[in-house]
């Protein structure tokens, strides 16, 4: 008797772990930037967060009698993204609670990889945001010298000088406030692009994030429709409302959200049309929250909001089947 199976009998090299580990590689430039600008404590937060995510995945997997899927790397991604979404000064228990919540509640209890409705990292961020609002909104200015130089000394202390994120300044004092903060407009763009501004550790450097996003687009792990329609909608709303589009593109978590979180396979639509609608929705909600909401930033909420709509979008925006008259 020979082995029996259905066709096809050959396969491309694609695998879930290959996708996930490439994704992790794509997050590495942003991780390096987080250490560069916020020092060793950023690395420490990331390690704690990833470790919590991995251990939680393992334990919940054992408890729920699921197949252990640690090797696919998805827990590492969630852990990293949870840490990326925190200010450098948060107490260490915050990423621990966040990663635990993301993996145990949002992912595993909903059925594990492939079944979760919400992006685990984003849901975790919103959860800890409300649980520890002051800690999650206390911002430190970026270091003036490379944070890597402090790695060797195991210097995990942080400065106590707190400041406000560019989006918060824009909300309170408008463009004039930003100009006093950064000096000139070009100087502001430059600092925002490089990541030299207060914010969550993984979101500030547009340059590092775009490097990773480039890798994901080249390897076709993510596709253009969601990020492009998301960013285009933000630009359009800025232009219509008289806000600075470049400032809004580069500040806050927009680049991180558009390329690394809104594109999450499980929680976003599957057809090109659906993806575009999803991206437009994300952009719309982000800008409404940024311009009219109570908090300065709205990326996480917008993506979570659209996550909830993704199944509905999939239902109504199907690909036209060839030969079927509509």
């Amino acid at each position: 008797m020979y082995r029996l199976s259905v066709s096809p009998h050959i396969h491309s090299k694609a695998s879930v772990s290959r996708i996930m580990w490439t994704f992790i590689v794509a997050l590495m430039p942003a991780m390096a930037a987080s250490i560069w600008f916020f020092g060793p404590r950023a690395l420490y937060l990331e390690i704690i967060s990833v470790a919590t995510a991995v251990i939680t995945e393992l334990l919940t997997g054992l408890l729920l009698k699921k197949r252990i899927t640690l090797s696919d790397g998805s827990a590492v991604i969630t852990g990293l993204l949870v840490a990326f979404n925190m200010p450098v000064s948060v107490p260490y228990y915050v990423p621990i609670v966040g990663s635990f919540f993301g993996i145990a509640i949002v992912k595993q209890l909903f059925g594990g990889l492939g079944y979760n409705i919400f992006n685990p990292a984003l849901a975790a961020r919103v959860f800890v945001m409300f649980a520890w609002l002051p800690e999650m909104t206390t911002w430190n200015a970026p270091l003036t010298t490379s944070g890597f130089s402090k790695l060797a000394g195991f210097n995990f202390s942080i400065d106590t000088i707190t400041t406000a994120t560019p989006l918060a300044i824009a909300k309170m004092k408008g463009m004039a406030g930003l100009l006093t903060e950064f000096g000139s407009k070009m100087g502001m763009y430059k600092d925002l692009f490089l990541g030299k501004c207060p914010g969550c550790i993984g979101e500030t450097s547009a340059l590092a994030l775009l490097l990773g996003a480039g890798l994901l687009l080249l390897t076709k792990i993510i596709r253009w429709p969601i990020p492009l329609s998301y960013l285009a909608t933000v630009v359009l709303i800025c232009l219509l409302s008289g806000n600075d589009p470049i400032f809004h593109l580069l500040s806050g978590g927009l680049i991180l959200g558009a390329f690394f979180m809104a594109t999450d396979y499980v929680t976003s639509p599957m057809t090109p049309k659906g993806m575009i609608l999803f991206g437009v929705g994300c952009g719309l909600v982000t800008m409404v929250l940024r311009l009219k909401g109570g908090l300065p930033e709205g990326v996480s909420f917008s993506i979570l909001f659209m996550n909830a709509l993704a199944p509905l979008i999939d239902r109504y925006f199907k690909n036209p089947v060839l030969g079927v008259k509509t």
């Binding site: 008797m1 020979y2 082995r3 029996l4 199976s5 259905v6 066709s7 096809p8 009998h9 050959i10 396969h11 491309s12 694609a14 695998s15 879930v16 290959r18 996708i19 899927t69 696919d72 059925g111 594990g112 990889l113 492939g114 079944y115 596709r223 396979y265 499980v266 976003s268 599957m270 057809t271 199907k318 690909n319 036209p320 089947v321 060839l322 030969g323 079927v324 008259k325």
Partner: protein, 439 residues
């Protein structure tokens, strides 16, 4: 480039690029496979009703003797491929399902000798069709649609084009390519016969660009005949799918649930056209075909002219296999069916027999599939623009009826979705089950 005057065509929706593995056999000329000691000839090698057995246990048969009588309009005659004694007429396991088959033990002599050659030009359309019918010709690309039935479309379907399918987009397979290289004139003659039967003016011969020599050969051969056009096609699987080929060459869309004749087209495969010529010119029944035998563990890979009914065990004996066999696939690796027993026979539609090693077979183990992560790679790969992800999720839950809402019946089972699936889900398996169980 020498083919620069020709426009390279392709279908636009989906498709994948598997490794071709054609190098194993593409330079192997067709050689005659030894006469087998025993054949198992299934009486159903076609779509439609099983042929009625005309012989019983103990009967002596000669080569080319009719042993299965066509039963009804959609059915086909079956002939003996060797002279011998009928040792049994039983239900045998063919491609993993049971079919009434005639088992013949080689005995006696080949009396047929050289067949008399007729001229086909003076023959009437009806006579040609009759010869095709009595020779038991069926589509040799795999589907096994009775050719006489295909070539007599209902009168309300106006046929204006014949497409000859020389694409051979399945990896490993080169049997059609070798036929095109070695029997160019015969194939052109076969095309002309089919063209006459259909009464069409235009013929397109589609060949994938990985067979440049064949394209050139036909292009040179056909310079004088203005109405048979060679169309080079981009190398992309499933370029040879009937509907994809029609879309690529004619930009026509076969409607859901329809057949090519609904858009005025008849598609015929190279091997079929060749068999039609032999049936019409020599009144030779379809009892042998060219089969690509390949695989990394096969010692003598090649293209063999094998008698219908020859079992896999005879093939193994002849070509030599080193190392344990993991999988035996009848057909190509994308759509072929793998068999569990060495008693499985070569049939009219068997274009290839592939032998995979244990390691190759283990590398695709659908029993360890993972959950769908909704990456939408299958949606991008589907040449019909279906949502294979959703079909697989519904299939996994055994919601066969719900699968119909996702156009289950439009799936051509080409396997592109499973091929690209990072979770290695047996999507085609669920579709096949869904089609069988939702009816």
């Amino acid at each position: 480039m020498w083919y620069s005057g020709l426009k390279i065509k392709t279908f636009r929706t989906g498709g994948v690029h598997p490794h071709e593995y054609k190098g194993l056999t593409e330079e192997c000329s067709i050689i005659n496979f030894p006469v087998p000691q025993k054949v198992i000839i299934p009486l159903s090698q076609h779509i439609g009703k099983t042929a009625k057995a005309l012989v019983k246990k103990g009967d002596m048969v000669s080569e080319y003797q009719l042993i299965g009588q066509k039963d009804g309009k959609i059915s086909a005659n079956v002939h003996s491929s060797i002279p011998g004694k009928v040792v049994d007429v039983v239900m045998a396991c063919i491609l993993n399902y049971q079919v009434l088959s005639v088992v013949i033990q080689l005995e006696g002599e080949f009396k047929t000798g050289n067949l008399k050659k007729d001229e086909w030009e003076p023959l009437k359309k009806e006579e040609i069709l009759k010869r095709i019918e009595s020779a038991g010709i069926v589509g040799m690309g795999g589907a096994g649609f009775p050719t006489d039935f295909k070539l007599s479309p209902p009168p309300d379907k106006k046929i204006d084009t014949l497409l000859v399918n020389g694409v051979e987009c399945e990896p490993y397979l080169t049997s059609d390519y070798r036929l095109m290289m070695e029997k160019t004139d015969e194939i052109v003659e076969g095309i002309k016969i089919v063209k006459k039967v259909l009464g069409v003016r235009t013929v397109f011969l589609g060949i994938e660009l990985n067979k440049k020599k064949a394209i050139k050969k036909f292009k040179d051969r056909l310079t004088s005949e203005s109405n048979i056009h060679v169309v080079p096609l981009k190398v992309k699987y499933p370029q040879g799918g009937e509907k994809q080929l029609i879309k690529a060459i004619l930009k026509r869309q076969v409607p859901s649930g329809g057949l090519p004749f609904d858009v005025g087209v008849i598609v015929s495969n190279i091997a079929t056209v060749y068999a039609v010529r032999e049936a019409v010119l020599f009144q030779k029944p379809l009892t042998e075909r060219v089969v690509t035998v390949a695989g990394t563990i096969v010692e003598k890979c090649g293209n063999y002219k094998i008698r219908v009914g020859t079992t896999v065990s005879e093939v193994i004996k002849e070509v030599g296999i080193h190392g344990p066999i993991g999988k035996v696939i009848m057909g190509g690796p994308m759509m072929g069916i793998n068999v569990s027993t060495v008693e499985a026979p070569v049939m009219k539609g068997t274009s290839g027999i592939l032998f995979f090693s244990e390691k190759e077979a283990r590398s695709i183990d659908y029993s360890f599939y993972k959950p769908c992560i909704h990456c939408s790679k299958c949606l991008e790969a589907c040449p019909v623009n279906l949502n294979p992800s959703m079909l697989s999720i519904l299939g996994e839950m055994e919601k066969w009826e719900d699968m119909k809402g996702y156009h289950l019946q439009d799936c051509i089972e080409c396997g592109c979705c499973s091929f690209v699936c990072p979770s290695r889900r047996p999507i085609v398996g669920w579709v096949k089950a869904g089609k069988a169980l939702s009816a």
